[in-house]
Amino acid sequence: MSSTPMMRATSIAEVSAVMREQVRNFKFALRPVSIGTVSEVGDGIVHISGLRDVMVGEMLEFEDETLGMALNLNLHSVGAIVLGSHERIIEGSTVRALGQVASVPVGSALLGRVVNALGSPIDEKGPIRTSRLRPVERVAPGVITRAPVRTPLLTGIKAIDALVPIGRGQRELIIGDRQTGKTTLAVDTILNQREDDVLCIYVAIGQRLSSVARVVDMFEHFGAMKHTIVVVADASSPAALQYLAPYAGCAMAEEFMESGRDVLIVYDDLTKHAWAYRQLSLLLRRPPGREAYPGDVFYLHARLLERAGHLSDALGGGSMTALPIIETQMGDLAAYIPTNVISITDGQIFLEEELFHSGVRPAISAGLSVSRVGGAAQYQALKAVAGQLRLEMAQFRELEAFAQFGTELDRSTQQVLDRGMRIREILKQAPHKPATFKEQVVIFFTATHGYLDDVSLQDVTRFEERFVEFLQTKQLGLRGPMGTQREFSPELEQLLHETIREFKQGSVKQG
């Protein structure tokens, strides 16, 4: 049988052979099911009488085979959300409890696929063959099952790897106004991962389908789709599915994590997730709180993000790194949902609209972005050069505002400013062009050791490009994250000095 029997079968004989096979595999189990009657329907919410033994989060099935999920258990009724269209569900119809909490298919069969919040494929690449399902809701790993975050996850984005390094198992929030490059950062991080190293899951919540299509297209184009699962609950899908999608993606990630793999999961974005949950909660008549969000909106995100982490070696040593995305309005970090998620995560990358429009892209605010655990996980060589870089950037920022008045500056101040402007220039990066570990170490080293000071500001980018080309012909003993040598030895430092001088002499001759 081919991998996609329903799609590939061409003749009637083949189709009937497949059908016969499937009918043979079908096992009928006679078991008692709990049933109820729909008493009220509307806006994706159903109130049901009966269903006495139903569990919270249990899957329900309506007469038209639409699935639902029980959320509110009252004395005489059950409030449920409809995971699909509620239009064909009518009052008085029966509802069956499926006896199981909501589950999704998991496993490597999903890699390269685009699925909905229930794990059903929506990419027309045939059925997904897997052996396992997992409940979408799960209690996060406990304290003793976790290991500290100690392995870096390289994003390939220079500004992140240098200033706000991310470790495997970390939760790093990407936050900023609309159109500031939040999704681009997350997508580029996925593009920088490799199949044999980190598996990726991209969860799109409440987004335009055109945006999702563009992201999927990007993954396909850069060959990242083979190590990626895309979970989609677009803006037109019911709020119930938008609510469920991140948990479904998380369940898929957990399966890989527990088999010892490193996983990266992107939730794009949790603002819309909170909106979907607010809608459901209000319709379920749960009391509204601040900004009309229900009382458990903090727990909504906390229980999701707590499921990320680094498992101890006894449990296989797998990890789940989460990059939730939050959209702010007018850069307001103090709004309800942003403060919630900031306090849950291990740091945030704040993207500033002003920086974005002044050409600093990625528009990462160096002052407001932090990584609370990533520093411990940074490769030693990168840490050595990035530490100096961070320091010089901080000095630069302090003086920059002051220097705008156009006052006469003494030489040392001017030098700090010149250095800072060059560092800012090398931290700029075009989208979808990840920088390797080696390139990053060398270019940061070049900048912090003053080798760029005599390069004019406009030429920094060109210098960098040509230098990277030059490096590709060189063996520097810096074999990147998968190599063995990540230490920063005096010999390496000597070698770097020589290499940079050699390149600069060469380029002077050429120029």
């Binding site: 329903m6 059908m19 499937q22 009918v23 079908f26 096992k27 009928f28 006679l30 078991r31 008692p32 099911v33 709990s34 049933i35 109820g36 009966g50 269903l51 006495r52 033994d53 569990m55 085979e65 069956r96 499926l98 006896g99 199981q100 589950s103 298919p105 794990g119 059903s120 494929p121 059925p127 997904i128 063959r129 897997t130 052996s131 396992r132 399902l133 997992r134 409940p135 799960r138 209690v139 996060a140 790993p141 406990g142 099952t145 399966e255 527990e258 088999s259 498992l311 449990l315 296989g316």
Partner: protein, 108 residues
């Protein structure tokens, strides 16, 4: 879960109504056998209310309180149809056993 529900049923009233649907008329001994089996299963006295429903094609359909046991031929065909449709989306080789425990129960 299920047994808890059944206990409640038992506590609620000593004699429960059981709605039974059959496709063809049952003989008295068949009826008695069904009653005995159901009473054992639900652990309470039952009063059978039998209706003839040819649309179920064959077998027996029983409802006691909120619990339904669908052993009808129509129900089986329905389940098969459901299964075949699901197969065009996600094929789970372990069947539809959603109860399979997670690989590592680290939260216990």
């Amino acid at each position: 879960m299920m047994s808890q529900g059944l206990n409640q049923t038992q506590e609620g009233s000593p004699v429960e109504q059981a709605q039974v649907r059959v496709a063809t008329e049952l003989r008295p001994d068949e009826l008695q056998a069904l009653k005995n089996t159901l009473e054992r299963r639900f652990q309470c006295a039952l009063e059978l209310e039998v209706t003839l429903d040819p649309s179920i094609l064959g077998g027996v359909w029983v409802r006691v309180g909120d619990i339904v046991i669908d052993g009808s031929l129509q129900g089986r065909l329905e389940a098969l149809r459901h299964y075949l449709r699901a197969q065009s989306r996600v094929i789970v080789s372990s069947g539809f056993d959603l109860t399979a425990p997670p690989r590592t129960a680290y939260y216990e």
